[in-house]
């Protein structure tokens, strides 16, 4: 039982529920240029950065699935986008990035912006209307800038959840 507390299989879902709740209740009320920050995207991106492609995929899927439960958008869309995002960001993980905060922030910035654009694209492909508009530009920028600013604390939280019980150095 105690060992389960150290398992990412427990910590990641709990983190996902907490972050999704905070996002939908608190963070979504903060409006900057008509868009709100998105911590759920941040969690998926830094999970890949911290845990690599395999853990990034799993964490992205779990986080996206939880986000889909809380929203009325097509079910499975966030799970699809975030699991691929976690995987792709995880591929960029290497020694150079591990020691360079600015590089980490840059990857989170680009990854977050790409996730927003990818979500709008995939949503449009699956029939959602009014998603792929000019408003996507400020939305992607707001999400990317805020996520980049929160990279350092987010990576600490991600290490706690995704690398739970793992004694390998990050």
């Amino acid at each position: 039982m105690l060992a389960a507390l150290y398992s990412p299989w427990l910590r990641v879902p709990v983190l996902a529920i907490v972050v999704v709740t905070l996002q939908t209740v608190v963070i979504s009320q903060i409006q900057i240029a008509g868009a709100c920050p998105d911590l759920v995207v941040l969690v998926a991106v830094v999970a890949g950065l911290v845990g690599g492609p395999q853990r990034g995929t799993a964490a992205g899927f779990v986080t996206g699935f939880t986000y889909d439960l809380a929203l009325t958008t097509p079910f499975g869309l966030w799970a699809l986008v975030l699991c691929v995002a976690g995987f792709l960001v995880g591929l960029s993980r290497n020694e150079a990035i591990r020691d360079n905060r600015w590089l980490q922030m840059g990857i989170v910035f680009l990854g977050s912006a790409a996730v927003i654009v990818a979500y709008a694209t995939v949503a449009t492909v699956f029939g959602s209307e009014g998603v792929f508009t000019l408003h996507l530009v400020p939305t992607a920028l707001v999400v990317a800038v805020v996520n980049a600013a929160l990279t350092v604390p987010a990576m600490r939280v991600a290490r706690f959840a995704v690398l739970a019980g793992d004694r390998r150095p990050v």
Partner: protein, 351 residues
């Protein structure tokens, strides 16, 4: 470039396929997924309440700091508007009452006869791509999916999910939201252009403001095409000899004609709504009121205000008019709403 280990690829493929399966089921409508969402809403309700309580003071302080000037300006403007509309509101209430009486006697559903559940908005739009709000009343109060939601001056949206103690409401501004509407247009002259007398107020729920009370009710259930020999749309309608005696308060026998129908769609947060399927020859003007059409089997009862026409463009070569509507309700600042316990099918079946 080295190829990816098989394990990584398999995991990614597994998750992608799972997500695609979920999407496919959701596109076709799946009660398990709907139930999962409702259950998630119920289970996380305490956590959401705690988060909201904890964040409310910070949010209020932030809004006070960033929006103070706007709030002050809006407050001043609203005071002026309220004063200007007091008189018009009194006249509108009298007309609305008469309208509801006439509909009742004709056996038509009326807004005054619909039970309402008052609810507080507990959380606003949850993400950049989801135009919904959560309210603190649910199926325990009789709320069901599809029921219309109003606030103050007009329509807000409809219930999308209904848990026992909470419900999710899809706002009018959501691109997935569509509502059948009609225009409370001014009567047209013989040349087809509207008359110059503008309406003095947006119609309150259930009202069809008119310059006279002489005619038979202009709303007679599902809109029908004019019979042979009757005036075409937009032209003044003559009062039949057998109806209520003409009013002594006006010298003109002109009745507002509500015949233009369309379908309004959301265009995202803060954007005006867009109306589809409006004939290019329609007799419309900027400022015309837009209300729910309430046709047979509609999810919405008739005559709920939606907004006013803010854009009219006649596009060359198109059969439709580009019409945009500014909602009468500020959907970004909702706090108290009412859910109409309205069943469209039952209403038109006379139950």
């Amino acid at each position: 470039m080295a190829s990816l280990p098989v394990g990584r690829r398999r995991l990614l493929i597994l998750f992608v396929i799972t997500a695609l399966v979920l999407l496919t089921f959701d596109q076709r409508g799946n009660r398990v997924l709907d139930g999962a969402r409702t259950s998630f809403l119920t289970v996380t309700a305490p956590l959401r309440a705690v988060s909201r309580l904890a964040a409310e003071p910070i949010g209020n302080a932030w809004k006070g700091l960033t929006n103070y000037d706007d709030l002050k300006r809006q407050n001043d403007e609203l005071r002026d508007e309220v004063e200007a509309q007091d008189g018009a509101a009194i006249a509108a209430e009298a007309v609305m009452y008469e309208n509801q009486q006439l509909k009742s006697s004709a056996g038509l559903p009326t807004l005054t006869g619909i039970t309402r559940v008052k609810a507080e908005v507990v959380s606003g739009e949850p993400s950049n791509f989801d135009q919904t709000i959560t309210i603190n009343q649910g199926s325990r109060k009789g709320i069901k999916v599809g029921m219309p939601v109003i606030a103050g001056g007009g329509l807000v949206g409809r219930v999308e999910e209904a848990a026992p103690r909470q419900s999710v409401v899809r706002l009018l501004t959501d691109p997935e939201s569509t509502v059948g509407v009609r225009f409370a247009s001014r009567p047209c002259t013989a040349a087809g252009s509207p008359t110059t007398a503008p309406p003095t107020t947006a119609p309150t729920a259930g009202a069809t403001t008119a310059t006279t009370t002489t005619t038979a009710p202009t709303s007679t259930g599902a809109p029908t095409l004019p019979a042979a020999g009757e005036p075409v749309k937009g032209a003044p309608v003559q009062a039949p000899a057998t109806t209520v005696p003409p009013s002594t308060t006006t010298t003109t026998a002109v009745t507002r004609v509500d015949t233009e129908l369309g379908r309004v769609r959301g265009r995202g947060r803060g954007n005006p709504l867009e109306v589809d399927q409006v004939d290019a020859e329609a007799c419309l003007s900027l400022g015309d009121a837009v209300v729910t059409a309430g046709v047979t089997e509609s999810l919405f009862p008739r005559d709920i205000p939606i907004g006013r026409v803010s854009t009219l463009e006649r596009r060359p070569g198109s059969l439709d008019l580009l019409v945009r509507v500014k909602p009468v309700v500020d959907l970004q600042k909702l706090s108290i709403v009412q859910v109409l316990l309205y069943d469209g099918d039952a209403a038109f079946a006379g139950k």
